[in-house]
């Protein structure tokens, strides 16, 4: 086929195409486009680190500059994935150290990162710019010191929600004096104190610093010193937000905030002393994002603060806000797009605050742009859910957690099938949904029928039978990630829909009714799935066919069987290995 343009021209055209989906489409046009595209792809996203191997990635895309990889399944956030399961990033770094010397960006989520890994990164990539470790673990501040010391052009170091072995705060002083490139620094997850003078000097010499998230150990009276050195900040995470009530501390703080004309996002606020919240007033009108989810502030003080923030698009808050606070939010913040309400006392038997379904209904009614919700509460009604669905037809993410499992509609005592059914029926763009409360197979019928754009679904303590799971797997065309716990789903639906599993990223099922025999059958039938039976209770040799497995994690892969599994995971390849040894 005659090529109308030289390769360089095509490559230049392709350089304007950024999304993976579009690039994948381009590479399917013809062989030569495939070849040109793969040589100039600079960024890759790997949603499951075991779906593909470093070798396959490197072979196809030899010139990557930026990589994002995700490891453990989502339920690992709630301690459902045992220690030692996997998600090690070292093999990736080892391979890329040779293949991608020009690697600039690495974004990892739920992966195990060791100090050895960080040292290898620091040593191997001369132009390394961005390191984001989201919910990672396995490394210490020693590893961070290596990154700080060696990465001369570091722009972003973001450790959000990672578990770091905090040996000392001294690592921060390893940033050389000639490091001026930082744009984003997030150390909120670290426990120990860093040297304030080192931090101040670092902040002073980085004129492009836009995002700074401090840790709890940075006291409130230190904050103005940092703010005065970085008035250009767009995002700030405070440290501890408490101090003795002193007017000089207050005026210093308010004065420093008033110099921050570009501040759009605030978070942190551990140990809040409410009186100091008014020091934020100078920046409130510019705020689009406010994260008070660690702040134990009562509703009246929250309302006062929110009334000063008319341009808020995102609010994360504890349930201390109560229905009254959410009513005020609905009145003041007409641009609100995302609301997350976290529980202040998730394990208490009785409610400690008046936060009910009414709060969420208020916000849905008052905020026409609301499209993303995470809401922990203790009671719900079908009528409320129907109202929310009708108020917010553009909902994209809806995650409701009614704290007590199997809680019905508290007025009618009916299951909440109708309510969630209304959500999926009216919200045609819904991409993510988390269910809770008393639910029968009916809700899954609604979801399978209506939720055609749904990509991720979380199910817990719901349903009656395999029919529920069958509705999901046969109906939800866009489903990529499904996670289920403590629900009566078993072999039939899984085996009858085994083909569907190859169209999804992954399926997690735990504490359900899937038998060991069915897992073995599924493994045999579907060679391009890894079927991991995760069971710490006993060895697979003594397990009978009818035994229900504790946890099951199924994902599609072109990389074949994992070689790094701990002893408590059974896969079909383990069996074969034993038989032939």
């Amino acid at each position: 086929m005659m090529q109308p343009f030289p390769d360089e021209v095509l490559e230049h055209v392709f350089s304007f195409i950024e999304s993976d989906k579009d690039r994948n489409a381009v590479s399917l046009v013809c062989k030569s486009w495939y070849e040109i595209e793969r040589m100039c792809r600079r960024r890759a996203f790997i949603g499951n680190c075991y779906a593909v191997s470093p070798e396959i990635l490197i072979r196809r895309f030899p010139e990557l500059r930026s990589l994002e990889i995700k490891g453990k399944p989502h339920f690992a956030d709630f301690n459902l994935v045992p220690e030692g399961w996997g998600g090690y990033v070292y093999p990736w770094i080892e391979a890329m150290a040779l293949a991608y010397p020009c690697l600039e960006e690495l974004r990892l989520k739920r992966m195990v990162v060791t100090d050895e890994t960080l040292e290898l990164i620091a040593k191997s990539f001369k132009n390394f710019k961005v390191l984001v470790l989201n919910s990672c673990e396995g490394f210490s501040t020693d590893g961070l010191a290596a990154i700080a010391a060696s990465c001369r052009n570091l722009r972003e170091l973001d450790l959000r929600e990672s578990e770091v072995e905090d040996l000392s705060g001294h690592w921060l002083s390893h940033f050389p004096e000639n490091c001026t490139s930082l744009v984003s620094l997030n150390i909120a997850c670290l426990g120990s104190e860093v040297s304030f003078s080192a931090l101040e000097r670092l902040v002073s010499r980085c004129p492009n610093l836009q995002s700074l998230h401090l840790n709890h150990a940075v006291p409130l009276d230190e904050l103005p010193n940092l703010l005065r050195r970085a008035p250009q900040l767009v995002e700030l995470g405070t440290g501890a937000y408490s101090a003795d009530l002193r007017s000089d501390v207050f005026s210093n703080l308010a004065g420093a905030f008033s110099k921050c004309k570009k501040l759009k996002s605030l978070s942190g606020f551990w140990d809040v002393v409410s009186a100091y919240l008014t020091a934020l007033y100078p920046v409130c009108s510019g705020l689009t994002s406010l994260n008070l989810s660690y702040a134990a502030v009562q509703s009246p003080d929250l309302i006062k603060l929110i009334n000063h923030c008319p341009n808020l698009q995102r609010l994360w808050v504890l349930d201390y806000i109560e229905d009254s606070g959410l009513e005020a939010l609905a009145t003041s913040c007409k641009d609100l797009e995302e609301l997350r309400v976290f529980p202040s006392d998730p394990f208490g038997a009785e409610p400690n605050v008046t936060l009910t379904e009414r709060g969420l209904v208020f916000v849905s009614g008052g905020c026409p742009k609301l499209n993303s919700v995470l809401y922990f509460c203790r009671q719900m009604t079908n009528a409320a859910l129907v109202a929310i669905a009708k108020n917010c037809p553009h909902m994209i993410r809806f995650r409701l957690c009614i704290i007590e499992p199997h809680t019905p509609d508290y007025l009618t005592f009916q299951p909440l099938d109708t309510g969630f059914g209304a959500i999926v029926e009216h919200c045609k763009e819904l991409r993510r949904l988390s269910l809770s409360g008393l639910l029968t197979d009916r809700v899954f019928e609604y979801i399978g029928t209506h939720a055609k754009k749904l990509e991720m679904l979380s199910v817990a303590f719901a349903g009656d039978s395999d029919l529920g799971l069958h509705h999901l797997l046969s109906g939800c065309e866009s489903l990529r990630k499904l996670e289920i716990r403590d629900s009566p789903f078993g072999d039939k639906a899984l085996l009858a829909n085994s083909g569907k599993l190859e169209t999804m990223r992954s399926l997690w099922i735990s504490s359900c009714s899937v038998s060991y025999g069915a897992c073995k059958l599924l493994s045999q039938k579907m060679p391009r799935l890894n079927v991991e039976v995760i069971d710490e209770r006993e060895s697979s040799d003594s397990r009978s066919e009818g035994t229900f497995v504790e946890k099951l994690y199924i994902y599609r892969t072109v990389a074949g069987p994992r070689l790094d599994m701990p002893g408590y995971i059974w896969t079909k390849d383990r069996d074969s290995a034993i038989r032939f040894s």
Partner: protein, 226 residues
């Protein structure tokens, strides 16, 4: 290359009959009406609960089945599909005072829980010298050293930890090496477990380690053991 659902149904029907002798052998007819299907489905509520009751408990496992680290000790019995008896041991949601804690529910991340310092969770890592994997325990679940030692024994069943607080040492029966239980406190110092009142220990313990006796030279007991 996606298998057609119909063919799969027939294939797996045959397999299913051999698979689960305890279940009624009903055809997996997807066109069956909901009521027909209901006849054959397993009742998964606790014994004595009517199928049509509004508050239907849909889970096979009672709450205590999913307790942290399966400490109930009756795990061997829970896999019999027909057995309902293990449910009787479970406290129900009707008695909040006796409510057992579910693993990972409500779905609040550990970082958030520990930050709130509510009566929630206090996860610490437990390592055993020589064992390949760490475990996590929630110290809020225990009320005494004895309680904790029983849990640790279940977890690392090769050691007889139970005798720890009498003899002060554990012996690995395989290689004869001795182990002691130590913890790291909030200041980063390693101390012997058992020296301070339980409540104070629970607040100040960051992680636990079963160390070989030979490596304990740096550990200071606060007071001589009683």
């Amino acid at each position: 290359m996606v298998a057609k659902p119909r063919e799969q149904n027939l294939e797996f029907e045959a397999a299913e009959r051999n698979l689960s002798p305890g279940m009624a052998n009903q055809a997996w007819g997807l066109e069956d009406s909901a009521t027909d299907f209901k006849e054959t489905e397993l009742t998964l509520g606790p014994p004595g609960e009517s199928r049509d009751a509004g508050g239907k408990s849909g889970t096979k496992r009672g709450f205590c089945e999913t307790l942290d680290l399966n400490l109930t000790g009756s795990n061997a019995k829970r896999n019999d599909p027909g057995a309902q008896s293990q449910q009787e041991a479970c406290p129900t949601a009707k008695h909040p005072a006796a409510k057992a804690k579910l693993v990972g529910w409500p779905p609040v991340r550990a970082l958030r829980k520990n930050a709130m310092r509510s009566d929630g969770c206090n996860y610490v890592k437990v390592a055993v010298d020589g064992a390949p994997y760490l475990r996590k325990v929630d110290l809020e679940m225990y009320s005494s050293y004895k309680h904790l030692s029983e849990a640790l024994e279940d977890m690392f069943s090769c050691f007889t930890i139970r005798n720890y607080f009498n003899a002060g040492k554990l012996m690995d029966p395989v290689d004869g090496s001795e182990y002691v239980l130590a913890y790291e406190d909030r200041d980063g110092d390693w101390m012997m477990v058992g020296d301070i009142p339980w409540q104070i220990f629970a607040r100040s313990c960051k992680r636990i380690r079963l160390m070989k006796s030979s490596e304990t030279v740096d550990i200071e007991p606060i007071t001589p053991p009683k």
